[in-house]
């Protein structure tokens, strides 16, 4: 059975190696914080961290992830919702329906890991996730707040 390292846990899953990581997370591991939005890496609702980088798990086959790769999902970003981005999101009431927000936060987490003080241009370039409720303005403000920067 394929083995994975998800949120610091070594797990075994029963799935065909072509199965996208998204569906392994959601259906095998019940980690439903990672969302299905488009299935073709367009919307970013399925964003997780793979060895620290933001990846769209809906197009990442299980075969491409080894047991030494570190997969972090929204459930593993912090143990108690205290990641600076999560705190900023609460502080600014960023989510509306919220469906895209876990992917937004994971994409933003990868951005801050790489650029702790991102500019607006950095945010525009890194944050290509789709939100249909239209929270972009607050997402941007949330990233700045978490980074201690201003727009």
């Amino acid at each position: 059975m394929p083995k994975l390292n998800v949120n610091g846990n070594a797990v075994e899953v029963e799935a065909d190696s072509a199965t996208p990581l998204l569906w392994v997370l959601r259906e095998q591991l019940a980690l439903t914080g990672t969302k299905y939005g488009c299935g073709i890496a367009q919307c970013g609702a399925c964003t997780v961290l793979l060895n620290g980088a933001a990846v769209r798990s809906c197009v990442l086959p299980l075969a491409a992830v080894s047991e030494t790769d570190e997969v972090i999902t929204i459930e593993g970003l912090s143990s108690d919702g205290s990641h600076p981005l999560q705190a900023a999101w609460v502080e600014l009431d960023v989510p509306q329906c919220g469906y895209c927000q876990t992917g937004m936060i994971m994409a933003a987490a990868a951005l801050l890991a790489e650029k702790p003080k991102p500019s607006d241009e950095d945010i525009d370039a890194a944050m290509t996730n789709i939100c249909r409720c239209g929270t972009y303005r607050r997402v941007r403000a949330g990233i700045h707040r978490a980074a201690g920067t201003t727009a």
Partner: protein, 723 residues
């Protein structure tokens, strides 16, 4: 004793799914977990539950889909209840329980920006009566008149005897009392909880991945289903060849629904989806297989010149005035099919037996979902239940069309007793929506020799939403919703007065199913009206603000919002070099709205720099959430204007996913400044109305920048480079 039947207390613990990490997901069935543990009776009335630990649970019948209604409605109840807001949580009553209790929670419908404006009186009454019951319970215990007991933040005090108690301590006694008749409601001027920019109640779970949406439901022993529907609306299944999936893992069954949908049921959804896509299905595409966007446009265009049409608004004699006008201006606009594109695709989970059917789903109307479940279950609604899940976006898609609930129940009937979750792929979702309808509009205006406008005529032609989704609401065949923002009065009044006016609708219904789409018909009608009046202002060589105001004397609230945006943007001073401005205003969903956009166009590329938007919604229940709705409305409305179009070829929708149906992303987002200016005395909606001004404000600014009048959307088809 109150005669109202108390809720039964139940909860449901979910097991982990499959192998791997063991997670115990907890899924409330409309009832709080805490209650389930004690069986204690603490329902003060239908709207308010008070726990011994002072927790206040406020019941919300409308659906939360991002618009903040959960928090706003809770604020209204809490305001009257005079509880401690820090102790407030919410829960959804179930539609089945409501039916059992004589529709005690009234409507569950969440659309038309009506969640608060349609229910504020009775939900506040729920809070007020609960407060008086709690006060009476304390007074009885102390044997003093209730009128001598004061209340603040859930603490009841009898000053004369220096005694005090809490809501939690008297809740059980209060719950035994009759619900009093009408209790006077507070003057909104005295509000301290409602009217405040409070934080949403539903944020914490959404930032840690704990919020359970319909697509996330996992039940013990659950199977999963994926579907394909005939790509041509109205087509049927001719034959299915199952050979390609014979050896596929996890597949349980292939079923056909109503001869038009094929479903595969499997252990996991990915297996079901892989299998259903591998099936060889032959469709009988039916009579509409030759329809194209061009044929639809031609069909609709004919209505612009048709002899007969429904009249939506009329004063004077516009045709005669146009005939005698010194000068006439004419323009024809058109608006395409658009998709809701909720981030969460359609889904529902159903468990069916011969005598019971339960459905877990995202829905904008729990009662409609229950009716859909009952119909497809072939059971009376009393033997069915719907558990509402948070929606990953609604925008009108999940309000009147519960196709996904019908399908889930039909699928579950093939697996009696086994819960089955149906989830649509994005491609199914995009190609089987209920679309923002297509219309065209021919506008004509007459000027007299002095340059005064004497007449306006607007002939709309195109699709009726009501004819498609609720034909019982047509009036003498007419769809009055088609006239939103052109009406003589009411929630969607035209905000101008012309000496002669005629607004008509020639109904032309193509085969593509229409649906209510956030903003509904206000979206295109305000483009038509506001861009055309901008055309008239330019024709007359007048300032677009001053020109509008000339016709707005009977609409002082619209004047106020329009002047507010003009003042904030600095209309009296020129914009930065290369930047141009555009205005729009309307009355929609009972609110008065205006916007001013600043744009520039460089090398054919539009940049929206800044938008100022004002809303007078009468009473503002949560100004911070109203700002969020205004910001979001620009994303929804400008996505539609910039990119939104579903085209038809061979009878089917051509766009299948976000690669061919682009929407706004972060980099497109302009700065939006909101002015929330409630003038009191009425209740207006906030989730939709601002969408209507988004596109015309930008289009008018675009004209100012380029001299190009865009009359056909979306904008991406137009070359904005200098001619």
């Amino acid at each position: 004793m109150t005669s109202i039947k108390k809720l039964t207390r139940r909860s449901f613990v979910l097991g982990s799914a499959g192998a791997g990490l063991s997670l115990g997901l907890r899924l409330p069935l409309g009832i709080s977990d805490a209650q389930a543990q004690t069986g204690f009776t603490d329902e003060i009335n239908a709207w308010v539950v008070v726990r011994p630990d002072e927790q206040v649970i406020i019941r919300i019948a409308r659906s939360e889909m991002g618009q903040g209604t959960l928090t706003g409605l809770a604020q209204l109840v809490a305001e009257e209840l005079e509880c401690d807001w820090q102790h407030v949580t919410t829960e959804y009553p179930t539609p089945g329980t409501s039916l059992e209790r004589g529709r005690i929670w009234q409507s569950f419908a969440t659309g038309g920006s009506r969640g608060i404006r349609e229910s504020h009186d009775y939900v506040r009454q729920g809070g007020a009566t609960a407060r008086e019951m709690l006060r009476s319970a304390a007074a009885s215990a102390w044997d003093v008149p209730a009128s001598e007991c004061s209340i603040a933040r859930g603490v009841i005090t009898h000053a004369a005897s220096k005694r005090s108690t809490t809501y939690g301590q008297v809740a059980n006694a209060a719950a035994q009392l009759d619900v009093p008749a009408d209790v006077p409601l507070k003057d909104p001027a005295d509000w301290t909880v409602a009217g405040q920019p409070l934080k949403r109640l539903d944020t914490a779970d959404k930032v840690v991945g704990k919020q359970i949406y319909g697509a996330d439901v996992i039940l013990p022993g659950m199977l999963n289903a994926a579907i394909r529907q005939c790509p041509v609306f109205g087509g049927t299944v001719a034959s299915i060849d199952e050979t390609p999936i014979k050896s596929m893992p996890g597949v349980k069954k292939v079923v056909t629904l109503e001869n038009k949908t094929v479903a595969v049921i499997a252990d996991y959804w990915w297996q079901a989806k892989t299998a259903v896509e591998a099936l060889n299905i032959t469709w009988d595409e039916g009579e509409h297989a030759g329809v194209t966007s061009a044929s639809i446009a031609e069909f609709v265009a004919a209505g612009l010149e048709a002899d007969t049409a429904f009249v939506g608004n009329q004063n004077g004699d516009a045709p005669a005035a146009l005939d005698t006008a010194a000068r006439t201006v004419e323009a024809t606009y058109s608006y395409p099919y658009q998709h809701h594109a909720t981030m969460e695709p359609m889904n529902a989970t159903a468990r069916w037996t011969e005598d019971r059917c339960e459905v877990w789903c995202p829905t904008q109307n729990g009662e409609s979902a229950l009716a859909a479940a009952a119909k497809s279950a072939d059971l009376p609604p009393q033997q069915c239940e719907v558990y509402k899940m948070h929606l990953g976006g609604g925008f009108g898609r999940r309000g009147t069309s519960h196709d996904y609930v019908h399908q889930a129940v039909q699928i579950a009937r093939h697996m009696p007793g086994v819960p089955v979750k149906l989830l649509w792929t994005r491609e199914e979702d995009m190609t089987h929506g209920v679309y923002h309808p297509v219309t065209q509009c021919k506008l004509s205006a007459g000027f007299d020799a002095d340059g005064k406008v004497t007449a306006l005529r607007a002939r709309i032609s195109g699709q009726s939403i009501l004819a498609g989704v609720m034909p019982q609401r047509l009036k003498g065949g007419a769809d009055m919703v088609t006239f939103q923002c052109f009406m003589p009065g009411g929630d969607h009044s035209i905000a101008y007065s012309f000496p002669n006016l005629l607004v008509e609708h020639a109904m032309r219904n193509p085969h593509v199913p229409p649906g209510f789409w956030r903003g509904v018909n206000a979206n295109q009608n305000v483009v038509y009206m506001e861009c055309f009046i901008d055309e008239l202002a330019h024709t007359a060589g007048r300032d677009p603000l001053e020109f509008r105001l000339e016709f707005m004397g009977e609409h002082p609230r619209n004047v106020a919002v329009l002047k507010a945006v003009a003042e904030r943007i600095g209309w009296d001073t020129p914009p930065a070099p290369g930047v141009f401005r555009g205005l729009a205003q309307c009355t929609a969903f009972a609110s008065h709205i205006a916007a001013c956009a600043e744009v520039s166009v460089t090398d054919g590329e539009l940049k929206i720099h800044r938008i100022v938007a004002a809303t007078d919604c009468g009473y503002a229940v949560n100004p911070q959430q109203i700002e969020a709705q205004i910001e979001g409305s620009f994303v929804y409305g400008l996505s539609a204007m910039l990119y939104g179009e579903c085209t038809v070829k061979d009878g089917r929708i051509e766009q299948k996913n976000f690669d061919t149906y682009p929407v706004m992303r972060m980099a497109d987002m302009p700065e939006v400044e909101s002015i929330v200016m409630p003038s009191g005395g009425f209740w207006g909606g906030v989730g939709e109305p601002t969408i209507a001004v988004a596109a015309p404000a930008v289009l008018n600014a675009l004209f100012a920048a380029t001299g190009k009048r865009i009359r056909e959307l979306p904008l991406r088809h137009h070359n904005l480079s200098a001619a």
